[in-house]
């Protein structure tokens, strides 16, 4: 299927133009490449910000209707501009560093967390020919670059000089490391069936969505993904009723906004990964691929939101139990079963 | 029922003054505050009486002295009630603590100390509970004076 604007084809043309522009201006050709890279990053950031805005609005509306209320209504039609108003508020708010904080670590932490989520975004296959960067080890890349996020959270928790933050940071580190294990192992089932780590190839190989072959893997992935993004019922790092706001208690303004962005970007990345690996990614009839991709991602995101507004929260040790005593063995079992079936067939 | 309770009380505490009826069961009035822990211990451990719940403990400033007022009930039968009173001197407001007998006495006594300045000897942690540490005076004493207190128009 061909579209009017196939960005994958658009970008080389743009890049040529930029290089030409650089030469014309008497700069080295390299400058054009750098400008092109900057443009891609900017585009991705815009995409990221836009996604998060839509997500936040959707979450508030869905939460509202789940809770017998209506959600934001005042700014714009049905409150659609509320998110923009909030963003402006967060950006123009004064940023300050608490006196007891470790200043530089405190300042860096939100960007570390955000970058980890953001980097994963560039390898997602949004459509057949709409992938910012096509990597043949895309799956490994995505799960690998997401991991340093926990360091940022630890940095935030440690440097804030607040005991709630510290406890939140520690909880978060323990939780994310624990859930990385079942998360990765649950993905391996898909990798074994498709025989590749290239996200494109994985999507291409799905005649029927892999959720049919890997229902358990999908379930484990989904639960681990919710835990990985620190969302309810696994939101113990920022457990509001216990730790006020956990690791970002002392953050405000734009730095808080980056944590916020990171949470939603992570959520988007993991949902997109679930859509790609288990639900057939951009494959689907009638509509363009990216519509299918977004629709499937949206469905998973809705699940995330649904969980958050209906479940109570686990306790830290119960959470660990769930990961190590239930999910991890189940994931291995799933892997074993998949392997056996593949060998026998 | 009420008569047997009063008889039992008379038998157990022959010297104490006993009022037959108040709004809260009979009242047992100790002659001095020093007796109070022993009286309460008997009341609590005696198998017949068994007043083991200290429902409320407070004090009243009668002008000449403080009166410590205890409202006790039976855990077996919540409707069996007893009021225990013990006088505390105004000049030297001291009385032995009950914190080792009743779990809640700890806080009740802190509150009485907070409001009346009655010192409970042997209390594990006697300090103000509702008012700030640096508060001057004891508000529920009748002679408490505070310039910031508003004079209400007469009622």
């Amino acid at each position: 299927m061909r579209y009017l604007f196939a960005p994958a084809e658009l970008f080389p043309i743009l890049l040529e133009g930029l290089r030409g522009l650089a030469v014309w201006a008497g700069l080295p050709v390299m400058a054009g490449d750098w400008a092109g890279a900057a443009l891609v990053m900017f585009g991705l950031f815009a995409f990221c910000a836009l996604t998060v805005m839509v997500l936040v609005y959707a979450e508030r509306k869905i939460a509202g209707h789940m809770q017998a209320r209506i959600g934001p209504m005042r700014v714009g039609w049905h409150g659609v501009l509320q998110v923009i108003a909030d963003t402006i508020k967060l950006i123009v708010k004064e940023t300050w560093v608490p006196g007891s904080a470790d200043r530089w670590v405190y300042r860096c932490a939100p960007y570390v967390v955000f970058t980890a989520g953001f980097l994963a975004l560039i390898a997602l296959p949004l459509d057949r020919d709409l992938t910012p960067v096509h990597l043949n080890l895309g799956l490994i890349y995505i799960v690998a670059v997401g991991t340093p996020g926990v360091i940022g959270i630890l940095m935030a928790g440690w440097s804030s000089g607040n005991k709630y933050s510290l406890i939140g940071g520690m909880r978060s580190a323990a939780q994310m490391i624990s859930y990385e294990v079942p998360l990765l192992i649950s993905l391996m089932g898909v990798v074994m069936i498709s025989g590749t780590l290239d996200l494109h190839m994985i999507v291409e190989s799905q005649r029927v969505p892999y959720i049919i072959f890997q229902p358990l893997g999908f379930l484990i992935f989904l639960i681990s993904a919710v835990a990985e993004t620190n969302r309810n019922p696994f939101d113990i790092p920022e457990a509001e009723s216990e730790l006020t706001a956990g690791f970002h208690t002392e953050y405000g303004g734009i730095r808080f906004a980056y944590f916020f962005l990171a949470e939603y970007v992570n959520m988007f990345v993991l949902s997109a990964l679930a859509a790609t690996l288990f639900l057939g990614g951009w494959q689907g009839p009638w509509f363009p691929g990216w519509v299918w991709f977004l629709a499937k991602t949206g469905a998973i995101l809705f699940l995330f939101i649904w969980f958050r507004w209906t479940f109570p929260r686990f306790r830290a040790d119960q959470l660990m139990d769930l990961s190590w005593k239930i999910l991890t063995p189940l994931a291995f079992l799933n892997l074993l079963a998949t392997g056996l079936i593949l060998v026998l067939l | 029922m009420a008569e047997t309770l009063i008889d039992n009380l008379r038998k157990t505490f022959p010297q104490a003054e006993i009022q037959a009826t108040t709004s809260f069961g009979p009242a047992l009035i100790c002659s001095s505050g020093a007796d109070l822990p022993e009286v309460c211990r008997i009341l609590k451990t005696d198998p017949v009486l068994g007043f083991d719940v200290l429902e409320d403990q407070t004090a009243v400033d009668t002008g000449t002295q403080f009166m410590l007022v205890l409202h006790l009930v039976c855990s077996r039968e919540i409707s069996v009630r007893l009021t225990v009173k013990a006088p505390v001197e105004r000049e030297k407001p001291e009385i032995p603590t009950l914190a080792f007998l009743f779990g809640c006495a700890d806080w009740y006594e802190r509150e009485i100390y907070d409001m009346f300045g009655i010192k409970f000897k042997g209390h594990p942690d006697l300090c103000r509970i509702l008012l700030p540490e640096e508060w001057q005076g004891y508000p529920l004493r009748k002679d408490y004076a505070d310039d910031k207190l508003l004079k209400r128009p007469g009622v």
């Binding site: 006020t244 109570p312 929260r313 686990f314 | 409202h71």
Partner: protein, 375 residues
Amino acid sequence: MRNLETDYPEALKTEEITLNMGPQHPSTHGALRLILRLDGERVVSARPDFGYVHRGLEKMAESLSYVQYIHITDRIDYLSSIMNEWSFCLAAEALAGIEVPRKAEYLRVLTAELCRISSHLVWLGAMGMDLGAFTPLTYTFREREMVLELFDLLCGQRMTFNYFRLGGVVRDLPPEFTKQTQAFIKYFERLPDIYDQLLSDNPIFLIRMRDIGHLSPATAHSHAVTGPNLRGSGVAQDLRRCEPYSVYPDFDFQVVTCQEGDALARYRVRVEEMRQSARIVAQVLEGLPEGEVRSKVPRVLKIPPGEAYVRVESSRGIQGFYLVSDGSVKPARCRIRVPSFANLSVLPQLVKGVKVADVVAILGSLDIIIPEIDR
């Protein structure tokens, strides 16, 4: 093999930290400060510190007449203000020897039970909130709003009702009140099932609530714990049944108990109590007698010298007033016995050795209310 803990004590040296929970904290339900000593996430000791909203209500009583003080009692436990008014009026009536007409007694029971429902609804929502479930709060507040609207209709107030007077209540039911209340009770009947779906059937909720904050009957008695907290430990003590005041003997209801004594038991008791209260309300509306709602009481009431301690079963336990009269128009001493004060005093024992997250759950399950403790 070497044991890390015994062979390398220096390597594993840990320190306790002190965590101040509150007075500004989302789950201390008001200005309560818990000073927690923590060993990692485990609580070593807890020390509640309160008094942040102390208003001197007992002192205030000494400068107000009995009638003027009724509306102050609303501020003691703002979620079940009717019970405060009731115990104060009972104490003053006992001192002055005032009779209350039968219809007024019915109206008192009616409002008190509605109040109990609304108070438990707030608690239920807050309990979910403490465990990280946001949605129950909005649901229970929706229903509580209906109760508040009934009260609005009845006495023009939503929170601080000032509905009771010495010798009765201030006015009769407005004409549409009975119908609306019946509609509410009918609607309310199926609600506990909805809450069950949201909370009590939820496995996460169950593992969070079960086997934490175990309160034994002996500890409960030692700390004079009353109300649903005590009944959650299997002690069937309810003043409405054990020492019936007003017209409670006329009504058929169960004293709800649960044997386990943990947070879940206290939760179950309260949810079931809402149903029982709804039953009482329905019976009151059915059997409402005709007659006066207020007996004749002189405008300037001089109460003979004496003292009275009268208590009622409030939403949180036994709530009582100890009034000492010196024969003037004002009480010489007014002592307020509040359930939350004693109920909170048991908290340091309950939270010893649990995780920080459980502190919140246990505190929530005790259903304390700060203005009542601070007075």
